[in-house]
């Protein structure tokens, strides 16, 4: 087992990043012009990185599977972005944001990375304002803030319930400016299917043009993976339909380590599943928990009536409502972190207090805040979310509480990277949700946007120079290089293998089967027996997939089933690795809840003596067991305690 070098700089926590920046190499403007960088994915991380790198003078090639960079799923983030500005004078600070994030992640993230994230958070807000992001303002013209789960201050900046959209449009506009100036070569409807490694360095990618079906070669001096998370392993998630783990998975299969694959976030406030025909789940922003109160009935008989549709929520008197988060966690109340809120909802529903026909929903009630603040205020804060809820469910949340239930939302795990955001393959970087680095076992709300933009605007543009400074003599790679030939052939063969199965079951049918296994055994509660069962079942589904999948349509043209099949092929392998990682991590921490490791009160119980490490998995070949490497997490500043929000 290798000891991984995270390259966290020595010295006091608050000085690590400044000292590191002073020590790393810089590329001159004249040399930047000679260097090409591929950025895969155009969400907040990829978009901000592509724009910033192009502005600095590098030649950037950007890729996305959608028809426009603006459609990356960062756009769906609703509630906000954290920054330690202390504009509210509530004693916020870089240290407090750092501490909240480390604690929120249940002490499974790196101190150095998280402190740096908090350090650059303020600059992100300034940058976004300068780009014209229309953040919410107070009447005096200053920026407005709200609060999010797991914190006691108001540090979340927002643009109504569309913060992700506005931040993404900000960096997308910056990208557009660079595309207009010829500094970014943009490739839409183009999906990365392999990485080209020459002389031990990442030198390009193989993609499939989703319009023409052609397999293409693209070379560069460095490759940046910014393709988000792999929540769609579960089939049903809040991810967009096209979100996939493909690029990260190709990185893994080319030798990059995969960090903490079992750490996925289950978001407590999603619209519940409505039947077997559902294609995806819709999130209701965590910001709603600022003004909504979560409850289930106190009496079992009321719950049964609700499940049968014999009574409605408004028929239940206040004293018969169990505001279980306020009851269990008085100091944080409805704003406990996501993992805690999700488990508490599951606990109530498992105990028989669920409020919909399936018994898998709890209420999020705005009655009290409407009484306190007036309907106008609630409408101004959450109007678009309420409209979205009503369009989907046909229930007006101003009159009746929302029904919510936890759903897969985000992956904290991802490609392993060092402090420079570089994987263990030289020249290959991973940023944003695609890497594993900053959120430990659980991400706090409004921190994904912060991390994506921190990586793309203010971290990668510095750290990539340290690598590229040694590449200024390296000529552009020829596209007929043997490694390109080899990888293109491998991609063709992979696609042909899928296409030529010509079985009788749709791609989606396999994806749903995988999703069900993942949700039942690698979801909100996990145990040894279930995980072992999941590994066996996934192997069976995989074998069936390669025997019976049916992909109609042409091979050499737009073929959506072929696209989906490639992604599901990756998910089948990713699901296996997630289950293995979950099986190996015999403690509970953050979103990873092992039923064998629980406190008396039912909270996640860490095992710091044995599991204070990042698991980094190394691929060994198809159907071979991967090797686990451990990166020990060293805590120089914070003291590890049982996480409490009581």
């Amino acid at each position: 087992m290798t000891v991984l070098n995270s390259k966290i700089p020595a010295g006091p926590l608050a000085e690590k990043w400044s000292k590191h920046k002073a020590a790393i190499k810089v590329v001159s403007p004249a040399n930047k012009r000679k260097l090409d960088i591929i950025v895969v994915g155009t969400g907040l991380a990829g978009g901000s990185a592509a724009a910033s790198l192009a502005e600095m003078g590098y030649n950037v090639k950007a890729f996305c599977y959608q028809d426009s960079g603006r459609r990356a799923h960062s756009i769906a983030a609703q509630g906000g972005i954290n920054a330690a500005k202390n504009y509210q004078n509530d004693n916020d600070s870089i240290y407090r944001l750092f501490y909240d994030t480390i604690k929120g992640g249940d002490y499974r993230a790196r101190e150095g990375n998280v402190y740096r994230l908090a350090e650059v958070s303020g600059d992100i807000i300034d940058q976004c304002v300068a780009q014209g992001v229309p953040f919410a303002r107070e009447y005096g013209g200053t920026l407005s803030n709200r609060s999010f789960g797991g914190v006691l201050v108001s540090r979340t900046f927002y643009a109504r319930g569309q913060t992700g959209q506005q931040l993404l449009l900000g960096c997308y506009a910056s990208m557009n400016r660079m595309i207009g100036q010829g500094k970014i070569e943009m490739h839409e409807r183009n999906e990365m299917l392999d990485i080209v490694i020459a002389d031990g360095k990442a030198r390009g990618i193989i993609t499939r043009n989703l319009v023409t079906g052609e397999v293409e070669r693209h070379g560069a001096h460095a490759v940046v993976i910014a393709t988000g998370g792999y929540g769609n392993v579960f089939f049903l998630s809040t991810n967009a339909m096209g979100c996939n783990g493909g690029a990260a998975w190709q990185a893994y299969k080319n030798g990059a380590y995969f960090g903490n694959p079992c750490f996925v976030q289950i978001h407590p406030t999603c619209i519940p599943v409505h039947g077997e025909q559902q294609s995806k789940l819709t999130l209701m922003s965590e910001s709603l928990r600022n003004d909504g109160r979560v409850w289930t009935p106190k009496k079992k008989e009321d719950a049964i009536k609700l499940q049968k549709g014999e009574m409605g929520p408004n028929d239940i008197a206040d004293e018969d409502r169990d505001f279980y988060l306020e009851r269990r966690y008085p100091s944080y109340g409805n704003l406990v972190p996501r993992d805690v809120a999700s488990r508490a909802a599951k606990e109530r529903c498992d105990a028989g207090f669920g409020v919909n026909a399936e018994g898998k929903a709890v209420y999020l009630d705005f009655k009290y805040s409407i009484e306190r603040l007036g309907r106008d205020v609630i409408e101004a804060r959450y109007g678009n979310l309420f409209q979205m809820y009503e369009k989907i469910t046909d229930v007006n949340p101003y009159n009746e509480p929302m029904q919510i239930y936890p759903a897969i939302h985000y992956s904290m795990g991802g490609v392993w990277v060092d402090y420079n955001l570089m994987t263990n393959i030289p020249g290959l970087y991973a940023i944003g949700e695609a890497n594993f680095s900053d959120h430990g076992g659980n991400r706090l709300g409004a921190s994904a946007l912060m991390q994506g933009l921190a990586d793309g605007y203010f971290i990668l543009p510095y750290t990539i120079g340290d690598y590229l400074a040694d590449e200024i003599q390296t000529p552009r790679i020829e596209l007929n290089h043997p490694e390109f030939e080899k990888k293109e052939k491998a991609v063709q063969e992979r696609l042909e293998r899928l296409y030529n199965v010509k079985g009788d079951k749709s791609v989606d049918s396999f994806h749903k089967r995988l999703g069900n296994i993942m949700w039942d055994y690698v979801g909100m509660a996990r145990n040894e027996k279930g995980l072992k069962f999941a590994i066996e079942e996934i192997a069976k589904i995989k074998a069936d997939f390669y025997k019976n999948v049916r992909i109609p349509g042409d091979f050499d043209a737009m073929n959506i089933e072929l696209e989906k099949a490639g992604r599901v092929a990756d998910f089948l392998e990713l699901g296996d690795l997630m289950a293995r990682d979950a099986l190996n991590r015999k403690e509970s921490c953050g979103g990873h809840y092992r039923e064998e490791s629980v406190t008396e009160e039912g909270e996640a119980k860490r095992d710091d003596d044995n599991f204070t490490f990042v698991s980094a998995w190394e691929y060994q070949g198809e159907d071979k067991d991967p090797i686990l490497h451990k990166e020990d997490l060293v805590f120089e500043t914070v003291e590890l305690t049982q996480r409490s929000y009581k």
Binding site: S68, M241, T282
Partner: protein, 253 residues
């Protein structure tokens, strides 16, 4: 609110193999659809049925399925994003349809948005318009503190109203002239309402309008149809603002 079952529906949908092929309508029957199913889930179910029958599924654009990414399109029974107001196709639910109905589905129809396949169109023209000026020219770093420029509550709100555009193209598809004025004016207004964006407001308006004309979008004749079908309720008041900015750009030269 209780979901009902639509026993049978006829889906009349535009099929076109690729940009060069000639397209035509095909009709398919589908049964037992819950009214709680979304429109795109209904298409998923139909596609599953087609795959099982050995027919290539219908290609349509979609991604977030939350009404925000702007990827989904579709002209449904003669209306962009279908028979409901202020939503995208992905938010449309089958409760808006009657049992036994024939539902007609077409792609966006506009010269500047050529069909790629079935219901998928090429909206690259929007990208080109934005690349010509839909931004504030600032580099990463070296910008003032976020609170250094106070912005009035109303200006921030109005900028946000315009910035809510999702770039789906419903306005273009709905306009009888295939004009992109609502799309372009939303971006121009969003940035012109903010002090940061005022600096290059006239230059921006001039460049974006020139690019829009070059790409083959039609003229605006003030029918207001775009505003009615915009899933995000973008107001045609933005078009008046764009005209003002453009006029000012023309005068200044």
């Amino acid at each position: 609110m209780a979901d009902k079952i639509l026993k049978e529906l006829t889906i009349k949908v535009w099929r076109q193999k690729n940009a060069k092929a000639k397209g035509k309508f095909e009709s398919y029957k589908i049964s037992d659809i819950s009214t709680g199913t979304s429109f795109l889930e209904m298409l998923d179910i139909l596609n599953e049925q087609l795959i099982n029958d050995g027919i290539e599924p219908i290609a349509f654009d979609h991604d977030c399925r939350e009404g925000i990414c702007g990827m989904c399109s579709l002209f449904i029974d003669g209306r962009a994003h279908g028979p409901d107001d202020d939503i995208t196709t992905c938010q449309l639910h089958m409760r808006k349809f009657e049992d036994g109905a024939t539902i007609t589905i077409e792609p966006w129809r506009a010269g500047a948005f050529p069909v790629i396949k079935d219901l998928i169109v090429d909206r690259t023209a929007f990208e080109k318009v934005l690349q010509s000026g839909g931004y504030i020219s600032v580099n990463t770093g070296g910008v003032p503190d976020g609170n250094a420029i106070p912005i009035s509550y109303d200006d921030a709100e109005e900028a946000m109203d315009a910035a809510a555009c999702i770039g789906c193209g419903a306005c273009v598809a709905t306009c009888k002239n295939s004009s992109a004025m609502l799309f372009v004016s939303a971006k121009v207004s969003h940035l012109a309402k903010l002090p940061q964006g005022r600096v290059e407001a006239t230059r921006r308006a001039k460049n974006m309008v020139a690019k829009m004309d070059e790409l083959g979008f039609g003229n605006c004749t003030n029918t207001g149809a775009c505003e009615v079908e915009c899933p995000k309720g973008i107001s045609i008041a933005n078009i008046a603002r764009l005209n003002r900015e453009f006029l000012s750009a023309t005068i200044k030269g």
